[in-house]
Symmetry: C2
Subunit: 316 residues, 2 copies
């Protein structure tokens, strides 16, 4: 079954922009044209593809076709880049239409540490479209075609995607020296953790509780939690003494060297495996990106056993 | 009209958690109890308060009562903190229930630069609940009572809130020295901006386009844009040469001193006024927070004329 590319684009635009009006603006057509194209596609496949909610949401069938639209777009741009330039044609000024887009979701701690190194010497005809994973679940973004790949701590393969291990990010439990002495002078005991405020990135961040569970053998009850969803602010507020928290080793190096942060206990840390999830699609753009990400991860992350079990978080 | 606090809490939990089931879990009651409380409240006021969508959304009337629930909660915790301790009572171990919560939305560049300083010596009975403004519009979060205050570039007062100027954040247009020579060797001309890729934080970030418009006198057509929603990655990828972009002066200092970044043209920058929006409610917790934020902003931001017009972004 051949699909009409304009109809696929209309569906993808409605899903990505959230409404038929916004999709029409982006595609430079009328809202009624967008509506007709989506309806025609729905009639062709005999299914509802998008729920007319606010924002518009794809159905499961709609997700399949939105992802298809994104994959066709990537393949087309890759082909365009491989065309032999006609003799005598000058190198054109790059235009947005001829660029290859790289829509990728990245978890926040990777974005703030090693991931930029993977992109440092990107080809000049590629445009980044990075998304922070904490804004949306990367599985949703992969499924509906918003991104072609994701760096995530979630090992579950999304339908239509491949997943590979990248290595583990090491997290250290840190506090200011004064607070460590005040709160943990008697050791990493359950009562100490119950009275010491901790920082969490957001409500989904369970790293601190896992550290406590590993240290005292059980989950703590109703800990005092500050929510600070920014890595820079997270480190600075721990230095200022408002709580303890888990910080990527790479992001704690300077503060540990300065002595403004100390580990709660040296040698006790959490290693969090990270995964590269990407569309199961062979295309030069995606293959090249995978190579860069795997290389940068190998240089920055800790190796994980390739054939062992895949725990979401391993501790020593 | 007196409101039942349990009913208000049930409504607020449904709106904040997104569903009746999740609200029930948080409140440790059955979903049917949550549903009955919300229905009783709707009957009392004679209006629908929450739309049973996924996620559940407050109506305009619902927002008023969710905000009321949050304000009553703050006032109650403040009163608790002011009660005279009974003689002979020992200082109790802090418990989550007795802590004052500070739910505040902060725009990302403030979160990564000056805002943590406002919170460095916070009282020990306060727990932070920071939200990044780019995840949601702070106006929505203020209206529905999710946050009590916000640092935002949006000067429009939200209903039930007061707004005051904090000062202006200065943004510099920067690139790596090599890229500046390559792209802007002939000056800040329209053709140069058309061919030079730029970085934007996300699709709502119009700073770069405003800089171009101020430099060449008109908006540029279809610029080449990388989206990089993380301040650390943003600076590092500009250093790596993938594009130019607008960076808060405070976040560019080190790279400018090292010479890994240079200004496109010294003296040409954008000053973006920031505002403190907060519930129109006198309570010690909120008054103390406002004092801290205003002090930290005065130390870190540039003064803005208090009686002049309030442009969203001023340029020189």
């Amino acid at each position: 079954m051949a699909f009409d590319p304009d109809q696929l684009d209309a569906l993808a635009a409605v899903v990505h922009e959230g409404s038929f009006d916004a999709a029409a603006q982006r595609l430079h057509v009328t809202p009624s044209a967008v509506s007709q194209r989506v309806k025609a596609l729905e009639q062709q496949v005999g299914r509802v593809l998008v729920l007319r909610t606010r924002p518009c949401r794809p159905t499961e069938d709609g997700e399949v076709l939105v992802r298809l639209a994104g994959q066709i777009d990537v393949l087309g741009r890759d082909a365009l880049g491989q065309l032999v330039p006609s003799p005598g044609s000058s190198r054109p000024v790059p235009s947005a239409a001829a660029m290859r887009r790289l829509p990728v979701a990245v978890n926040d701690d990777s974005m703030s540490t090693w991931f930029p190194e993977a992109l440092a010497d990107l080809p000049a005809d590629v445009l980044l479209d990075l998304r922070r994973e904490d804004q949306d679940l990367s599985a949703d973004l992969l499924r509906d075609g918003t991104v072609m790949a994701a760096v995530t701590a979630d090992p579950r393969a999304v339908q239509g995607c491949r997943v590979r291990r990248l290595g583990a990010m090491r997290y250290l439990a840190v506090a200011s020296p004064e607070r460590k002495a005040q709160w943990f002078g008697g050791g990493l005991r359950a009562e100490a953790f119950a009275a010491a405020p901790l920082l969490a990135f957001n409500r989904e961040d369970g790293l601190q509780e896992r550290f406590v569970a590993a240290a005292v053998g059980r989950r703590s009850a109703a800990p005092l939690v500050h929510y600070v969803p920014s890595q820079g602010a997270f480190v600075r507020l721990i230095e200022a003494g408002i709580g303890w928290g888990m910080v990527p080793a790479a992001a704690a190096t300077d503060a540990l060297a300065r002595g403004t942060l100390v580990e709660l206990r040296a040698g006790r840390h959490l290693d969090v495996p990270l995964y590269w999830q990407h569309w199961a699609l062979r295309t030069p753009t995606l293959d090249d990106l995978t190579d860069r990400v795997v290389r940068a991860a190998a240089a920055a992350l800790r190796p994980v056993a390739p054939h062992g079990p895949a725990p979401r978080r391993a501790s020593e």
